[in-house]
Assembly symmetry: C2
């Protein structure tokens, strides 16, 4: 350490503009923080691009993460950034192989927070068995970011034969939900607003790669998979109904929501069907595969259940049948009920 | 348009939180702005991941862009985001095939600015012959971003046989620079600070895919390629010297810098060797390929020239010999001379 440099003594404590400048401090950051945490994860920091052995075809996806607060019950922005992209690959039937890591850091971000996030990213990548092969770090002035924003992009081989996509959805297909709804958004929001509910609600954030791999390895005929992030189940169902030009009919009684989430939602005027999840998905499978899909998912640790069916009409529309038997249209919201939850 | 909604009349003018919420406004934004601009570019907006036919192995890279101002002489953040990632793929000897587009937008960003940037992205992608297959949009509150930040990640087949990487660099290799230095950083900085130089300086921003493809298709024995972005030629040379465990000797007299950039740099106390470029690269080739490489690059429109050689020692060190024959070590800077230039 060069003690003659007047601001050198700061550089262990917080992020400086110079950490994003392509010079010595950036090299030190990459070496002492990233390379150290990512040992064994395949980081190729010494070239402009990483080289990967993949026999095509491949799935390719991207997601930016701006969640506030960056640490929340059940996770943090780093774990979210890894699993978010891993899950998007899994939803196409791909095996997550490698992700990139693009960081935008705010000047003044405590180095301890960055280290904690980077370690969380490394842990999540090991859990999901995905490599972190390439990255980029930019630093912006104070007040031009909110601590840290993360982009992850991911690629993985599409080694499953069938076309897992809304266009494969057919009337008669079964709608299977992988677990209870609304915990991620509720946990983040409660944490942000400093609201303590009687029951502590933790995010449902998790990697979906393993349960999806289990279903795809079985004889289940999977037509479409969709994780229920921004906009929740209602928005995902609407997008699929629209793309597939079918109708999705949901049975409200069959959709699991914990008492804690239901209570918090009622208190806050939110509808759990529109709340973001980060570890829940909808699997649309051939009718004869429904029981087998539920069984495979339960064996893989998901509390899967049948929540509805695909119908031919009304085309592009999602309907919800209530506990009392009344059926209504479940529309897209204008925006999201809560901002900055992912 | 639903006129009964009290804030609906805003939504044509500026970005709202709801544009990032996974609901109706986000769907409209994707359809009316992105899908329309990206016609023919392969956007797969209706699934969590895009599916691509690539015959492996592949190169994979990521870069975030936070340049300020977002429009500058010779380019804008959108064009920069496309060519920046295209160039990183080209530097590994890969053919740029597809990029992702991750947008972080500030609430209140004028829709006209966003449209201009998206159109610029589409134009740049067509020029570089790269597809935009997947994307993501997040919106953060006013004051939590600087208008727009963009991440692009890219993939492309590595169909060139040799290993283009610092580890392939050998003593005796020739250092070839593709053109004059310092225009991008100077143009951005002048634009940011409202400084008008006598000569108008434009960014050197351009796609390097075509000249690299020309060299790789020739009989030139290419060992390493590096684009000279953050930290400029001096930092890139240091990174390579360090990775390759060799010495790079540069001849100051041979390095082209325009009078306009030299004048602006002197005025501002900057060294052009450390200034960021967005359309310049260093090619390290076998000594017997030097003339042929220069010839190929000139035919492809680059003002390429020989600027030095690789030596065995002093290992990990870059030296610069001045016009007067004095030789000094050209070290890494601590950070960058100018922040937010890419």
């Amino acid at each position: 350490m060069n003690l003659s440099c007047p601001i050198e003594h700061h550089h262990g404590d917080t992020i400086l503009q110079a950490h994003g400048g392509g010079g010595r401090l950036m090299a030190e950051l990459i070496q002492s923080v990233f390379a150290e945490a990512f040992v064994g994860l395949g980081l190729q920091a010494d070239a402009d691009s990483a080289a990967l052995d993949i026999a095509g075809p491949v799935a390719f996806t991207t997601d930016s993460f701006v969640v506030k607060p960056i640490f929340f019950p059940g996770g943090d922005i780093g774990r979210l950034a890894v699993f978010g992209t891993v899950n998007d690959l899994a939803m196409r039937g791909a095996t997550p192989q490698a992700i990139s890591l693009g960081l935008i850091l705010e000047e003044g971000l405590p180095m301890a927070k960055l280290r904690r996030i980077i370690e969380s990213i490394a842990t999540a990548a090991r859990e999901a068995d995905v490599q972190i092969v390439t990255g980029d770090t930019k630093v912006v002035e104070r007040g031009k970011c909110d601590g840290i924003y993360i982009n992850t992009s991911g690629i993985g081989p599409l080694n499953h034969g069938s076309d897992i996509h809304p266009r494969s959805v057919r009337p008669g297909d079964a709608l299977i939900l992988s677990g209870d709804l609304g915990r991620h958004a509720t946990a983040v929001m409660a944490s942000r607003e400093g609201i303590a509910f009687e029951t502590n609600i933790e995010s449902d954030l998790c990697s979906l790669a393993a349960p999806i791999a289990a279903v795809l390895a079985s004889d289940v005929e999977v037509h479409c998979l969709r994780d229920l992030t921004r906009g929740g189940l209602a928005s995902a169902a609407n997008e699929i109904a629209n793309s597939a030009n079918c109708s999705l009919s949901l049975n409200a009684q069959a959709i699991p929501v914990t008492d804690a989430v239901r209570g918090a939602s009622e208190l806050l005027g939110l509808d759990p069907l529109y709340l973001a999840n980060e570890g829940r998905f909808l699997a649309i499978v051939a009718p004869e595969s429904a029981d087998s899909a539920i069984c495979e998912l339960r064996n893989a640790g998901c509390e899967a259940c049948l929540i509805g069916t695909v119908n031919e009409s009304p085309r592009g529309i999602v309907t919800l049948t209530s506990e009392l038997g009344a059926t209504r249209v479940l529309d897209l919201l204008r925006g999201e009920q809560l901002p900055r939850i992912c």
